[in-house]
């Protein structure tokens, strides 16, 4: 049966499936689409995905578990939108998300996605951990609850709960303290930002999460927000205004160049270390921020920055977007995007793979371990580098 309520029905047939969506800017290879890189079947490219969605809408094929897996294997990295030469390119991901909206409505999403969404709804985080454990990451940090400080520091679900990302969350808090940035935190009152909920197509839950956060922020008088995660940054900057939440949001890496310039942060001193930087999709392609993290890294004494061949608009996603850091629809292979990215980073000869996103941090550190590269390249969040927790 045709699904007439699909809102991109007048556009989706315009994808020619020419394959440009798979390439980076310099055409180096067809594996810059994470899900295509992982499976190398046309169905997993975004062209193939759009043709399948259209076939489902037209009633040519039925919604199946496998179709749901294919639709949810897109990590929303926007590489396709960068490369597609056609005028509707900016709607490619919207077309995928709109299909997910319908899958959610029909209750036919992959089991891991369902669990992710239920966990956010019930516990305020995708891991299904207790909300009273949310502030564990702050232990020993002496952080103030948000009252009327200039900034709210929003650590996000990954920074609060993921054992590896907690280090980055804590490092950033110490860094902000050292720079005497006036900030407060929400502790156990913080809840998920909803960015991945939006990407996974659960509109109702997104609205609920956004309204809850906006309501709390307004009640507390929050005007400015610093985020650890580019995903949170994207949600607050680009999604929350839809629900009446207009805040001045900064990803922390955007503050660093000024804090360094003002002498409030002293860049660390390293001993002839080479660093390569991985652009997080929600900072780079989604929000066009490529300079600030690099400026911060270039300020580190004794370090030199080496770019991976695929950087900025061409950066290969770690594969963690759209909740895939949890749902893991692209894992289990040497062609998993995080493992490809780890190899690309290692190929530069860098000692450190710097990231600016808790998702990328966990995805890439795991990948470096699986690749057996942990003695050769360390994965560090920029906040950790500046906080001198480099081993």
């Amino acid at each position: 049966m045709a699904l007439t309520q699909y809102k991109y029905m007048d556009v989706i047939h315009r994808c020619f499936r020419c394959g440009y969506c798979k390439f980076p800017q310099d055409w180096e290879d067809v594996d810059n689409c994470p899900s295509y890189a992982r499976y190398r079947l046309e169905s997993y490219s975004n062209g193939g995905r759009l043709w399948l969605i259209r076939a489902w809408m037209n009633g040519e094929i039925e919604l199946s578990d496998h179709l749901a897996d294919i639709v949810y294997s897109c990590v929303g990295c926007k590489n396709c939108e960068e490369k597609c030469p056609l005028s509707f390119s900016e709607d490619i991901l919207n077309m995928v998300i709109a299909a997910r909206n319908l899958m959610v409505e029909q209750g036919r999403v992959p089991a891991a996605v369902k669990k992710y969404l239920i966990n956010v709804q019930l516990h305020g985080n995708p891991y299904g951990l207790a909300s009273k454990k949310r502030s564990d990451w702050m232990e020993g940090l002496d952080l103030e609850p948000f009252k009327d400080q200039e900034y709210l520091y929003f650590v996000g679900s990954e920074g609060a709960y993921d054992s590896r990302a907690q280090f980055a969350g804590a490092a950033l808090a110490r860094l902000l303290q050292r720079a005497e940035v006036p900030f407060g935190v929400l502790g156990n009152d913080e809840t998920d930002d909803g960015n991945e909920v939006e990407m996974l197509g659960e509109d109702g839950l997104m609205e609920m999460v956004a309204e809850k956060n906006i309501c709390r922020f307004k009640a507390l008088g929050v005007k400015k927000i610093i985020t650890l995660s580019p995903h949170t940054y994207n949600a607050f900057k680009n999604i929350y205004p839809r629900f009446g939440g207009n805040f001045e949001v900064k990803h922390y890496s955007q503050l660093l160049p000024d804090l360094i310039k003002e002498g409030r942060i002293l860049p660390p001193k390293l001993d002839n270390v080479s660093i390569t930087y991985h652009d997080p999709c929600f900072l780079g392609r989604w929000n066009g921020e490529y300079k600030a993290p690099r400026k911060a890294l270039q300020a580190i004494d004794g370090a030199h920055l080496i770019e991976m061949a695929r950087n900025r608009k061409s950066a290969l996603c770690c594969g963690g977007g759209s909740g895939n850091y949890y749902t893991d629809l692209l894992g289990g292979s040497e062609d998993s995007p995080a493992r490809i990215r780890a190899r690309q980073a290692h190929a530069t000869g860098a000692d450190i793979l710097a990231v600016a996103c808790p998702n990328c941090l966990t995805m890439l550190e795991d990948a470096v371990k699986v690749e057996g590269l942990e003695e050769k390249i360390k994965v560090k969040d920029i906040a950790e580098l500046f906080e001198r927790v480099v081993n």
Partner: protein, 452 residues
């Protein structure tokens, strides 16, 4: 799980086989007007050995095998007309060797043209290969399987004339090499051994090309596109004759199209020039414009459209969106350059009859030895009526080409039949014998180039 799926998984790995509806649907569809044709299995091998094992399995099971590269022929040449296994070759994409001094590169045949171009740009910026006008995802092997041409066709001919060696998996599973590589030597020449060229232009009916040594050519530091415009199509053959005499251009294309309207009924000759210095470019420009084109300007029959434009990479995809509908298909034919006026006139008449804005293009091959002429018909994938019109226009064009004495290039099955109907009977019988000798079970891309 059925036994064939399991056997395929044993060969290429579990992740790289599917018999699920979603993959079968995806591989049943061509980008052009062809009706869907469903495979029974899809497999994506990584090595020639895996291809060989798939083919041996297919022979045992009497299953069709359809090789697929970028899937961009638009003529349905990689559709499984009789079901079977679609073998997507794009995982076979390694660059095996770059010999700069010998000017060749050895690659696996599933590699994209984009990847080859990017590799050369990075590692040998003074070398280039002839890149087809297709999207960058078009594969090297796929292009050879259809006798493709590219942006170096004027100086060097067909892409299939630029091969220094090949590895092919035969329809019975043997892995064969052709050229100097067959002697265990480097991949530096296809000649002068006895001619066994039975694979290019066959659309995979006689074997699967798995490795290719491609000739590379000088890539100059600067490249520009100039445009000369005339109103009278009858001038085109003469102008191209004169320009090919000068021999300075890297690519020569004459194009006429209804959209955008200011260009309607005009004929634009696109001249790609390259040079390592401004002086070299200026010298070439002078020979072409001052030496050959000024007279047309003086007599009022031609004018300069543009000089020194940046050469954009092939963006042919945009043609698919002319009707906001994600589709186009074209008939390609190899014709004498002198055919241009007729090709244009009759092609635009067919377009008009079917309510499709006309687009015709002729790319010079060699020193004016021939021309690849294309008639493009855009359609709206969501509007079956426009698809039908495009399909009918394509069929009419196929017939028109043969009637006027042209030779269809990479024809769809409809055009293949027209070609074979006109073919010398002895030649046709030889095609049949070759096919039967190589493919006794008739498993390779059946339905294509099938002699009755």
């Amino acid at each position: 799980m059925d036994s064939i799926t399991k056997a395929l998984m044993d060969i290429v790995g579990e992740d790289y086989v599917s018999n699920k509806t979603e993959e079968l649907f995806t591989y049943s569809k061509d980008l052009g007007t062809s009706e869907p044709q469903w495979p029974d299995y899809v497999a994506t091998p990584k090595t020639a050995e895996e291809v060989s094992r798939i083919i041996k399995l297919a022979n045992e099971e009497k299953l069709a095998v359809v090789p697929l590269g970028g899937g961009l022929s638009l003529a349905g040449l990689a559709l499984p007309l009789k079901g079977g296994i679609t073998v997507d070759l794009k995982r076979m994409d390694r660059i095996l060797k770059l010999n700069k001094i010998g000017r060749f590169i050895v690659v696996e045949a599933g590699i994209s043209n984009g990847k080859v171009a990017a590799h050369l740009h990075k590692h040998a910026p003074d070398l280039m290969h002839s890149e087809p006008g297709a999207p960058a995802a078009a594969t090297i092997g796929g292009n050879l399987a259809i006798h493709g041409q590219g942006d170096l066709a004027h100086p060097y001919g067909f892409n299939s004339d630029m091969v220094n060696g090949m590895e092919v998996v035969l329809p019975t599973g043997e892995i064969c090499q052709f050229g100097s590589c067959a002697l265990g030597n480097d991949w530096y020449t296809l000649h002068p051994l006895p001619d066994l060229q039975l694979f290019m232009g066959w659309s995979g009916c006689t074997g699967i090309i798995t490795k290719v040594s491609l000739r590379l050519f000088p890539c100059k530091k600067n490249i520009e596109q100039d445009m000369f415009i005339v109103e009278d199509e009858k001038l085109i053959p003469k102008i191209l004759y004169e320009l090919t005499h000068v021999g300075m251009a890297e690519d020569l294309v004459a194009i006429s199209q209804e959209i955008p309207p200011p260009f309607n009924r005009l004929h634009c000759i696109l001249i790609n020039l390259s040079g390592d210095s401004k002086e070299e470019l200026e010298f070439k420009r002078k020979l072409i414009f001052d030496g050959k084109l000024t007279k047309y300007i003086q007599e009022g029959s031609g004018g300069i459209g543009a000089v020194g434009q940046r050469v954009e990479r092939p963006q042919v995809t945009k043609t698919s969106d002319w009707r906001k509908g994600g589709g186009f298909e074209y008939v390609g034919a190899i014709v004498p350059v002198s055919f241009y006026p007729d090709c244009y006139r009759r092609g635009s008449e067919i377009s008009q009859r079917h309510g499709i804005p006309y687009t015709v293009l002729g790319r010079v091959i060699g020193s004016g030895h021939g021309m690849m002429f294309s008639w493009t018909y855009a359609f709206n994938r969501a509007d079956e009526d426009t698809v039908r019109h495009a399909r009918e226009a394509l069929h009419e064009t196929d017939e028109m080409v043969l009637e006027m004495g042209g030779t269809l290039w990479k024809p769809a099955v409809f055009g293949q039949k027209l070609v074979m109907d006109r073919m010398d009977p002895n030649t046709l019988q030889m095609m049949k014998k070759v096919k039967h000798l190589l493919d006794p079970n008739g498993i390779m891309n059946p339905g294509n180039w099938e002699v009755a």
